[in-house]
């Protein structure tokens, strides 16, 4: 994170760019990663709904993937997936 001089900081310490937290890739935290088995997926969207990061996205083909820049590997999606289509796999 770059420092700023006192003149560069906006008055009142206001942050003008909404959603700028996206600069920080929380994906670096994780030890496990969710992997989807599209054969089992029923495209219900529960993984998308239950992700605390909001980083599970529906792709063009209708299946879901986690944005690995942000996925913290909590495992909620894998546990809640009704047809058991998601497995948590170790990183690295």
């Amino acid at each position: 994170m770059a420092e700023a001089t006192w003149r560069e900081i906006s008055p009142g310490n206001v942050v003008h760019t909404p959603g700028s937290a996206k600069e920080y890739h929380t994906g670096s935290w994780r030890a496990m990663r969710p992997v989807w088995d599209d054969a089992k997926c029923i495209k219900c969207g529960i993984c998308y709904i239950f992700c605390p990061e909001g980083c599970v996205r529906q792709e063009a083909d209708g299946f879901f993937r986690a944005d690995l820049d942000y996925c913290k590997g909590c495992g909620i999606c894998a546990r809640e997936c009704w047809p058991g289509a998601i497995k948590m796999v170790e990183e690295g």
Binding site: A4, W6, G12, V14
Partner: protein, 387 residues
């Protein structure tokens, strides 16, 4: 042509606030501010101004409501003193850091314990590091003028800082004084609508009050200090504009018969008016006495004070509050530090007086001046309290 009326100063203060086209007032009652709160609510209830008057459940919430409203771009006002101001204390540095131009009347009253509903400055002194502009008034006319000027100063794009107008509790708030109100259209010319720098609105989502780590925090504090110090330029400019439009002149430091003085008394607030006849009496007796009145308390008027005391032999600083465990009162501490590096600085003594509403008479001021003349070393004394 403005008409002179006799009016209780608290009522006059509320009337002045009414003339400022405020949007939101959030007020919690506390003696002796209550007449301001009550009369302002009458002004709103009669539809004389279009504002939201929020009867909050505490002073802390009064300031919080003002913050929320000011952050949306509204012109917000509150008033308090004593315990109420102490309860708001948590929020004051937040308001100035967030650069929200809230205006507050403080009806100076002692802080507990013991509880005392009369008048002294112990409520405002703990706020001196809060980053707010603090201006003391001496009489009813000043209360009106300073209140009308407050938003003009606070909302100026070169300032964007909150302002406190101090009004001594009871000895000023409850006095009926002859005052003049300018015409509303003149006030409207003097005080334009607020143009906020940043507002809470979905069209431009922004975040106010983010937390900061040590990489940014010190710079933010410097920015805040620079803002307050630089605000003096604008305060002087606004006082200039006021004089041109309304004829009355305001200065950060006022002097009375200070020329050629051997001893100067220094005071803040309404007791300055009692000190003046004392100066006259001393002069008649052959004592070369004079008076300095500090009107602008924060940002402190360093240059004006140094200029005012140049050449005087003794400076007697009057404090109406105590900085316990320190060497006297807070004004004494500030004055000493301002004069520390001056060549030929005066012998500076401190009288702590007028605490808890104790009356200070003309004779008391004469006594204090004569005591100061005889003083041999710096120090402080609780006047009239005994050993």
């Amino acid at each position: 042509m403005a008409k002179r009326v006799g009016m209780e100063v608290a009522i006059a203060a509320a009337e002045a606030v009414g003339m400022c086209n405020i949007d939101v007032a959030a007020v919690y009652p506390i003696t002796p501010q209550s007449h301001i709160a009550e009369h302002l609510s009458e002004i709103v209830a009669d539809g004389r101004i279009d504002a939201e008057y929020i009867t909050v459940e505490s002073e802390h919430s009064a300031m919080s409501v003002c913050i929320g409203a000011s952050a949306t771009g509204a012109r917000a006002y509150t008033a308090t003193c004593s315990q109420g101001l102490m309860l708001m204390h948590e929020l004051l540095p937040i308001v100035s850091a967030m650069r929200l131009p809230i205006v507050m009347s403080v009806a100076n009253r002692p802080v507990n314990a013991p509880l005392n509903i009369l008048s002294d400055h112990s409520d405002i002194m703990p706020q001196r590091d809060s980053g707010w502009i603090v201006i003391f008034s001496e009489n009813g006319q000043e209360v009106i003028d300073l209140t009308l000027q407050a938003y003009r100063i606070a909302e100026d794009k070169d300032v964007m800082l909150p302002v406190i107008i101090c009004i001594d509790g009871f000895i000023l708030t409850h006095m009926v004084e002859p005052v003049e109100f300018p015409e509303q259209k003149e006030v409207n010319k003097f005080l334009p609508d607020r143009v906020p720098y940043a507002t809470l609105h979905p069209d431009k989502p922004l975040t106010m009050g983010a937390f900061a780590m040590s990489d940014y925090f010190p710079q933010m504090m410097k920015a805040k200090d620079e803002a307050l110090v630089n605000s003096k330029k604008t305060i002087l400019k606004v006082w200039d504009e006021w004089e041109k439009q309304f004829g009355r002149r305001y200065r950060p430091v006022e002097t009375y018969k200070a020329k050629g003085a051997e001893v100067l008394l220094l005071i803040m607030g309404s007791m300055g008016e009692t000190a003046e006849p004392a100066i006259d009496e001393l002069r008649d007796k052959g004592v070369a006495a004079g008076l300095i009145k500090i009107r602008l308390w924060r940002p402190f008027p360093f240059d004006e004070l140094r200029k005012a005391v140049k050449g005087v032999r003794v400076l007697a600083v009057m404090d109406r509050a105590v900085s316990f465990g320190d060497s006297g009162g807070p004004v004494f501490a500030d004055v000493k530090s301002v004069l520390y590096s001056e060549d030929n600085r005066p012998l500076t003594v401190n009288y702590i007086m007028g605490l808890g509403g104790r009356d200070v008479s003309v004779e008391d001021f004469v006594n204090m001046a004569e005591g100061a003349v005889k003083a041999k070393k710096e120090g402080y004394e609780f006047y009239g309290v005994g050993d």
